[in-house]
């Protein structure tokens, strides 16, 4: 598909010439040359999900059902960062209209199988990724070899008839294969993720507090602090005492004066800050010296005393029946969670294993390294205890000690505070009765984009009854609008909120019919980006996927996530 560059010559300012011509810096084996090249190609994304995220991606196999522009855009965004392989299932052949809005259907190949053509063009994007295709309709394949679908890491599907969609979802659910339904319909974009359970170790929160344990200080840390007398330090050492030590020392004094309480209120914290800043050395003329470490100490008063509690999401994980009752078929996540729970209950006395990292601070390297060693040693110590629980659990379950790698254990302990488990409702449940979230969102806000979820459900009902989408034929547009309205009415009635029909404006019904099921490329491109991002989250187990549905309103550039 890509350009045959007959008339293009390399540009003169070739900044990257070395890699092509010269020897590499070191004598690398062929394999490591390939590795180095991969590292270069993926450099910008490794910085987001790391080598291990990349490895998960490279081991992933993804299935796309039905070649739509949204579907191929999604696959494109998964192939570029380097999934292992993909398979496209579609029994249809290319029409002129398909090729018009899909970059991966060659207009010169009208009449050929969509699955084959799209697979070939997509594969060209990245030689590291293997592509396959099945030129058979999904419904036949589901009938003939259902096990075909259960081996994938993720199954992505465009719009399917309700019968087929429900069948597919019911097949994947017990096999724990995530299903990502993803489509664009006029200016509406819709993604639905169905996964029984998805555990996230690295949720990458963007507001994580440091784990400093000033409320439950490490024994060696206390000793170290006690060995330092701020008053007797010379000028240089005084201004290079890590702020953590300063905070701790002033905290001891404060607690002595306040019945063992840490400064809690804004006013107390303000007083505490003032006390710290009063400790700054003064020169002969009584002018305070420039001591950055004291400024840092004062600055961190607000965050450093956040009590070390187990967050509610984590509490729920530790109390989950899967955590309490591990078996030899439990996933590593639950075996680790079980070890973590035992640690918290016993040695941790209510606290998590120490994270072990220290923030940057003004300090001489000697004392910083000493602090670092204290925190790291404690973290390693805590981790060892968790490790012992895990090994013990593994051997008593008869599943061997090698099951959980040290690396995984370490990552788990470091991220213990941020663990997440996502469980969406199944499609079966969704179509049986709406979630409370949907009802609340839809009935409490007449401007909510939840409206489009309702309309999409009505479109599905329309299709099931009429075998076509509303608004496909211009002359039936008005009739389709009123048909749609009655489907919405039925839906509202079945949800037990018949009055909510008032919230569905005629304009919105017009709009959804007017688009005539067309896929607008820019909406498809947008949705392809969002859906691929969700797939990457599901594949790497990093970052938290949307819990249920994602709705995009291209008319207003708004979006909504909804636990459907």
């Amino acid at each position: 598909m890509l350009a045959q560059l007959s008339q293009v010559r390399p540009a003169k300012n070739l900044r990257f010439g070395f890699f092509q011509q010269g020897p590499l810096c070191f004598d690398l084996q062929y394999e490591s040359v390939q590795m180095a090249e991969k590292e270069k190609k993926y450099d910008r994304q490794l910085r987001l999900w790391g080598d291990h995220g990349q490895r998960d991606l490279e081991n992933a196999s993804v299935c796309l059902i039905n070649v739509t522009a949204t579907g191929t855009e999604t696959l494109k965004n998964l192939i570029l960062p380097g999934i292992g392989n993909f398979t496209i299932v579609d029994g249809g052949r290319i029409s002129g209209q398909d090729a018009g809005n899909n970059f991966f259907l060659d207009p010169e190949k009208i009449g050929e199988y969509k699955s084959k053509v799209a697979m070939e063009l997509l594969q060209e994007l990245n030689p590291d990724v293997k592509g396959e295709y099945v030129e058979e309709d999904v419904s036949q394949l589901l009938e003939r070899t259902p096990q075909f679908f259960t081996g994938f890491s993720v199954v992505i599907s465009g719009s399917l008839t309700l019968t087929v969609l429900k069948k597919l979802a019911a097949l994947l659910w017990p096999h724990k294969v995530p299903l990502v339904v993803c489509l664009s319909y006029g200016f509406l974009g819709y993604i639905r993720i169905a996964v029984e359970e998805h555990a996230v170790i690295e949720s990458h929160p963007d507001n994580a507090h440091e784990d400093l344990r000033l409320d439950d200080p490490i024994e060696d840390f206390v000793k170290f602090c006690d060995s330092i007398d701020l008053e007797s330090l010379d000028k240089k050492d005084h201004s290079h005492t890590p702020y953590l030590i300063i905070l701790f020392k002033y905290l001891q004094t404060w607690k002595n004066d306040h019945n063992g309480q840490v400064p809690n209120t804004w006013k107390e914290k303000k007083q505490f800050k003032a006390a710290i800043l009063a400790g700054v050395r003064k020169n002969a003329e009584g002018v305070p010296e420039d001591e950055e470490n004291y400024d840092e100490a004062a600055k961190h008063v607000n965050t450093a005393f956040v009590p070390n509690k187990i967050p509610p999401e984590l509490k729920a994980i530790l109390d989950d029946h899967k955590c309490l009752n591990i078996t030899d078929s439990s996933s590593n996540f639950w075996i680790l969670a079980n070890g973590l729970r035992q640690f918290v209950q016993n040695e941790g006395s209510g606290f998590l294993p120490l994270r072990g990292s220290l923030p940057d601070m003004t300090s001489d390297s000697e004392r910083y390294v000493k602090l670092q060693n204290i925190y790291q040693a404690k973290a390693a110590h805590d981790m060892q205890i968790v490790s012992n629980y895990v090994s013990h659990a593994c051997s008593s379950l008869g599943c061997g000690n090698g099951r959980v790698s040290e690396r995984d254990l370490k990552r788990f302990c470091r991220n213990a505070h941020f663990l997440r488990v996502l469980r969406t409702r199944s499609l079966e449940e969704e179509y049986k009765q709406p979630s409370k979230a949907v009802i609340d969102e839809f009935t409490s806000d007449s401007n909510s984009d939840a409206l489009w979820y309702v309309l999409w459900r009505a479109v599905e009902m329309f299709y099931t009854t009429h075998g076509k989408y509303p608004g496909i034929e211009d002359e039936e547009l008005e009739m389709d609008v009123s048909r749609m309205k009655s489907f919405v009415k039925d839906l509202m009635k079945s949800w037990g909120i018949p009055g909510a029909i008032e919230a569905v404006s005629d304009d919105s019904l017009q709009e959804i019919c007017r688009c005539g099921a067309a896929e607008i490329h820019s909406v498809a491109a947008y949705m392809g980006g969002v859906a691929a991002q969700e797939c990457i989250k599901l594949i790497t187990g990093q970052y938290v996927p949307v819990s249920g549905a994602y709705i995009y309103n291209g008319l207003k550039s708004t979006s909504l996530t909804l636990a459907v």
């Binding site: 598909m1 890509l2 350009a3 560059l5 293009v8 070739l14 900044r15 990257f16 070395f18 810096c25 070191f26 180095a36 090249e37 190609k41 450099d43 910008r44 994304q45 910085r47 987001l48 494109k76 965004n77 960062p81 380097g82 970059f103 060659d106 207009p107 060209e124 994007l125 030689p127 006029g186 963007d206 507001n207 240089k236 290079h240 806000d445 007449s446 909510s448 608004g471 211009d474 005539g516 067309a518 607008i520 490329h521 820019s522 491109a525 947008y526 949705m527 980006g529 969002v530 991002q533 970052y543 949307v546 291209g554 207003k556 550039s557 708004t558 979006s559 909504l560 996530t561 909804l562």
Partner: protein, 617 residues
């Protein structure tokens, strides 16, 4: 079928429109595809850059065999393969080229930026203001993205909000008293240029004898004098290295033993600091033969390993330099292995000497290259949003345009996208206001014409080729962009030599950008940290508002960009520290508004290294 997008008149306005895509990188590739598949037929795309391996994880119109070719050209060819009916012109050139003047911009109905750096964004902003063509500005950084529309007299321009200053380090911190890893990394990059690259007097790496801290007398003229003398005595580092045939052990000893001992002799520096420990080559010369390359680039190397890497990379770079012409130079590139290894090892050895934490090669790469992570998905999202805005603009519905932010994760109001109303132009914007004036303080006795031109007019105001006239009633020309004339000006003379006094007014004009501004000068002698000018005030008259549809709401987030080397698609969503009291107004239903205003705004430092990069959600 009666799709909105396919209404005949809409379809025609799209296919008849002429659009200009500036940049064919991560967003540019996606955008070109989207435009063509949305029915755009007349597209010009410009990009100066060539394709690099690290582009291939997202710039899907390029493949490995295209590495080294022009991005614009390959992008065009790749799109045409599948959409042969489109009329695409690819331009492999710099957008700063005067050929692309106001007249050139006027041919377009719409300009779309898919750029990676602030100076080009500034320039296109001015060209679009001058030509009165709507502009869609966009950017992405990791999972974050932003799209916004700009129209003269209707919305804020790209420069209505002050740019955050790139964090810079005082020269003496870099040369004499580093205290953080980044100081050593900056030093190592300077060193690379001194040894192999383009020499720059501002990038000296040897001990700075003029450090005010080392000379507490504080007599400025004396310091300057001393400085000049030392400079004259010292051969350029490049000459010295050449004479010594780039012998690694000699270079090592000069930098890490001799220069450090010299620094130690400046004892005033070390009264409050921990003094550095010099390292001799003989101490670190490794007995082991294991190659450093077997180490993971993510691991932290020992001093000995760094020394070995230093030596190996010097030999490699020397080889490369010899392959160049007589006056050839190497350009530091974070994606070039020997260059990166050189900088990483030199920075780490220096860090070791000063008792600073050492970093892995991977981390050094981030810090040195100011790398902003970039992925296919965010670019796809952003490019999709651009086209939605483009359709609004061509459909004459500018009032429906928004500034849309793409977040990393769902916010408390369950949104991944945050659309905001566009703000009206800022009356005191020094770019888009009518009759803009700016008041700056400089030391008229020492501030030279060259500094006015390079540091203030070009670097601060973003002019390309300024002309400056003194408003003294005689129309004295201070700076002329006309090269033939420029010989007659003594650029090294201070402003005072041209009868400029406290309160003098200048008119600076950039012909290409069709942009002029009055500069009021105030005399001032005290400056902090190597600053040579201070902006005191900006005034002007807001452009006439042409549309009442754009609500007058405030928004204190803006598109911004760090000044990085050559990366794609960087754009940072940034809090405007100048107006923290203003709250962003969300374009949402009332109850969501309520919800959002309560949501706390957080600042997060994006890359672990660069604290000047702030993300706001």
């Amino acid at each position: 079928m009666a799709n909105l997008c396919m209404l005949p008149e809409m379809k025609k306005s799209v296919s008849d429109s002429k659009v200009f895509v500036v940049g064919a990188g991560g967003i540019g590739c996606e955008l070109l595809k989207n435009l063509v598949l949305s029915g755009f037929r007349n597209i010009k795309v410009i990009d100066l850059d060539t394709i690099d391996v690290s582009n291939l994880n997202r710039q899907f119109l390029f493949q490995k065999r295209h590495v080294g070719f022009s991005k614009a050209t390959v992008a065009k060819e790749s799109v045409l393969c599948l959409c042969p009916t489109a009329n695409i012109t690819a331009i492999h050139d710099s957008i700063f080229n005067p050929e692309y003047n106001m007249q050139y911009f006027k041919q377009f109905d719409l300009v779309m930026n898919a750029l990676d750096n602030r100076s080009a964004r500034n320039h296109v902003n001015r060209m679009c203001l001058a030509a009165n063509v709507p502009l869609i500005e966009s950017g992405s950084a990791g999972y974050l993205g932003q799209v916004t529309a700009i129209k003269r007299g209707v919305t804020e321009c790209y420069e209505c909000r002050p740019a955050p200053r790139q964090k810079s380090f005082p020269g003496c911190t870099i040369r004499n008293t580093p205290s953080e890893p980044i100081h050593c990394i900056v030093w190592a990059k300077y060193l690379f240029n001194q040894l192999f690259g383009e020499e720059d007097a501002d990038q000296d790496v040897s001990p700075d004898t003029a450090d005010p801290e080392a000379n507490e007398s504080g007599d400025n003229s004396k310091v300057k004098h001393q400085h000049a003398q030392v400079d004259a005595e010292r051969k350029s580092t490049r000459e010295w290295a050449k004479e010594n045939e780039y012998n690694p052990s000699k270079i090592f000893n000069k930098l890490f033993a001799h220069d450090i001992r010299y620094l130690l002799s400046m004892d005033k520096l070390w009264t409050k600091r921990k003094p550095p420990t010099p390292v001799d080559w003989s101490e670190v010369e490794s007995n082991s033969q294991t190659s450093v390359s077997e180490k993971d680039i993510q691991s932290v190397l020992s001093l000995e390993e760094n020394a070995m890497l230093f030596s190996e990379s010097i030999q490699n770079l020397k080889q490369k330099l010899e392959n160049e012409d007589e006056d050839g130079i190497l350009v530091w590139d974070k994606d070039d292995t020997p260059a990166l290894n050189f900088a990483a090892s030199a920075a780490n050895i220096r860090a070791h000497i000063f008792g600073i934490e050492t970093k892995s090669i991977f981390d050094v790469k981030s810090m040195a290259g100011n790398i902003i992570p970039a992925i296919a998905t965010t670019n796809a999202i952003v490019a999709g949003l651009i086209v939605m805005q483009a359709l609004c603009i061509l459909n004459k519905q500018f009032d429906k345009c928004k500034s849309v932010f793409v977040r990393k994760c769902v916010n408390p109001a369950k949104k991944l996208l945050v659309p905001c109303c566009l703000d009206p132009p800022k009356p005191d914007c020094y770019v888009c206001a009518e009759k803009p004036e700016i008041t700056i303080a400089v030391n008229i006795e020492t501030f030279t014409v060259a500094e006015l031109k390079d540091q203030f007019l070009k670097k601060h105001l973003g002019m390309l080729a300024p002309d400056v006239e003194i408003l003294d009633g005689k129309g004295t020309i201070l700076i002329s962009s006309d090269e033939e004339d420029s010989g007659s000006f003594d650029f090294d003379r201070p402003l005072a030599d041209f009868n400029i006094i406290n309160g003098s007014r200048l008119r600076a004009d950039d012909f290409l950008q069709n942009y002029d501004i009055i500069i009021n000068l105030t005399h001032e002698t005290k400056f902090e940290n190597e600053e040579i000018f201070k902006v005191l005030e900006q005034t002007g008259v807001a452009q006439q508002q042409k549309s009442a549809d754009v609500s007058a709401t405030q928004d204190n987030t803006t598109v911004n960009n760090t000044n990085n080397d050559d990366d794609d698609d960087i754009c940072i969503l940034e809090e405007n520290v100048a107006s923290p009291e203003k709250k962003r107004k969300l374009q949402q239903s009332p109850n969501h508004d309520d919800h959002n205003s309560k949501a706390k705004r957080r600042k997060v430092s994006e890359s672990q290294n660069d604290s000047s990069v702030l993300i706001i959600d």
